[in-house]
Point group: C2
Chain length 343, copies 2
């Protein structure tokens, strides 16, 4: 009770000590005898004292706040990364503040400027592509910075992610090996999602090895089931008709599969479908999507652990690249030569 009004001096007066002793006792810092500490803690608790973060952070010139920027919360991937981070961070007594940039580097940059005024303990960004200036600004502050979900040879500071280009290439190689030769990529407007573009480039590289060209279909819509559906319908109008559709992620892939079936095609007999991420919708589908499984929660957890260490001044590894595996499902299958339309 009386939470909002009890301040450190009230506790000090009640305990018959100075404010400083209370501060030391509650933070578990050296400089108070165990007897006094116990008494102070008991009194503070009884009075319902909660230290003002504002005052504390101002005095210490740093807070217990970790600010996190993700493109969107509508994509389960980012929710899972955040979920993975949050447990570890909360456990370490850190609070999190989440921003959504809607895939806009300018918004991310503006947010970084605002957010710095809270003196956070650390900053987390999604991906490794940022507006010019963001990088320099963060480096200048000297606080721990974590980039998740993508990798960079030269991260701002710390980095935990996966190599999207390699993932795309591996999926492409897998599909090429199955015999697909008319692949299509279905994503969203170029430039909005740099990671997706890297995967697409990897796919294109792999198909180029077998002299196949990846056609590209992009929607202006948000990445969603509908975008996949519409994208698939658009792809089917292409001549020659693609023999495999590679989607931005599993949700688009599912939408796309529905689109193909609505168009009278059967999967995988008439056309192959490949997704990305291994989202949990896949666990209930009668035909599992061929996809790449990414360790989102683990990525978050690893990132959080590294951050906590960095905040405490321990510098270890700065760059972690996580493994991803192609998981063949029932939406693709070996292509017989006779299946292949003449090129």
């Amino acid at each position: 009770m009386e939470h909002s009004t009890v301040k450190i001096e009230d506790v000090a007066r009640e305990a018959g000590v100075s404010a400083m002793s209370v501060s030391r006792a509650l933070r578990g810092v050296e400089g108070v005898s165990e007897a006094t500490r116990a008494r102070i803690v008991e009194i503070a608790e009884r009075m319902g004292y909660a230290p003002s973060r504002l005052a504390g952070s101002l005095a210490q010139a740093t807070s217990n706040l970790v600010t996190i920027s993700v493109p969107t919360l509508f994509d389960a991937v980012f929710a899972e990364i955040i979920g993975g981070m949050r447990e570890t961070l909360t456990h370490a007594g850190l609070e999190t503040m989440i921003e959504t940039s809607d895939y806009d580097p300018a918004r991310e940059a503006a947010w970084v400027e605002r957010m710095i005024t809270w003196s956070p303990a650390a900053v987390v960004l999604s991906g490794t592509d940022h507006a010019p200036g963001t990088r320099a600004l963060l480096r200048a502050t000297g606080m721990p910075v974590m980039e998740v979900w993508d990798t960079a040879k030269d991260p701002i500071d710390l980095c935990v992610g996966i190599d999207h280009h390699v993932i795309g290439r591996e999926m492409g190689a897998h599909l090429a090996l199955l015999g697909y030769r008319n692949p299509a990529w279905i994503g969203i407007t170029a430039g909005r999602d740099p990671r997706a573009e890297k995967r697409r480039a990897g796919l294109a590289d792999a198909f180029a090895q077998v002299h196949a060209r990846l056609i590209e279909i992009r929607s202006d819509a948000a990445p969603s089931f509908e975008a996949g559906y519409d994208g698939a319908r658009a792809a089917l109008r292409h001549d020659p008709r693609p023999d495999v559709l590679c989607f931005l992620n599993d949700h688009l892939a599912f939408g796309g599969m529905m689109g193909c079936e609505d168009a009278g095609l059967s999967v995988p007999a008439d056309i192959g479908i490949a997704g990305f991420n291994g989202l949990n919708i896949n666990n209930v589908l009668p035909r599992r999507l061929t996809t790449s499984v990414t360790p989102r929660a683990l990525m978050g957890k690893t990132a959080a652990r590294m951050l906590v260490a960095a905040i405490r001044g321990v510098r270890g590894e700065t760059r972690v690249e996580m493994p991803v595996r192609v998981e063949p499902g029932q939406t693709t299958r070996p292509r017989l030569t006779s299946d292949r339309p003449a090129s």
Copy 2:
């Protein structure tokens, strides 16, 4: 550049005025001539000055922070509510801090206590069921409090939501009218999601009107596609076999539909399926789910508008109840008497 080090006195010195004038000028507060203000603003911008939120909030005893608690970010519903709020809040210069309580009132309560130490401008909670004490604590602080997603006759302060009991009843009435008489509810462990329990109670009420009893299947798992799948399989083992399955939400419903089909039943011929929320997966399904469409984004936007007004001291309406409509799909259909198993 030099962001982190420029403080208000530096700007004041550069402009040849006092710190107070700079403060006034930048906040757009009365008390500086237009000429000086323009000059100060220009200089502050040039120097890259960003006021410390910590110091500012401490001095003003309130911040530009709106703290939001939701059960989870894995459910698109909450992501959409947050999305709807955020635009309006950001536009009003308010920052948001999001917490996930994992449907645990104790965690929510602990968070409220911590969060208050940041002197937020307002607090947003999900639902109207809270731990004892949370309500009193928030009322005592006097800050604007918004409860979203559910309604209460006597909210803590402000409230924007839907009446889950009524929604359940309307869906139940709709299904009863179609002739269903052996309904099953498939959700998660009782008590975890109070809103879902209200809908279930509403369903049960409506079916009771036609002397039908609602059986209940609950999973310990998180609300997900898989929980729906497993729940459906469990429901099908029930004797007499249910003729319609009512799910916690559309994602469970989709999983459940897959479960039914895996079990050799066809929807809606052999069994009906009803979901909740009108999630966007529904837009790509060959058979649209029968569901209740809820205005999540609008709810968020409305809540945010009311909050901004309250923060600025304008008190208007305090309680808004939003309309919800039952949207018949292709997963239910009129039941002929002959379809009905003898009771």
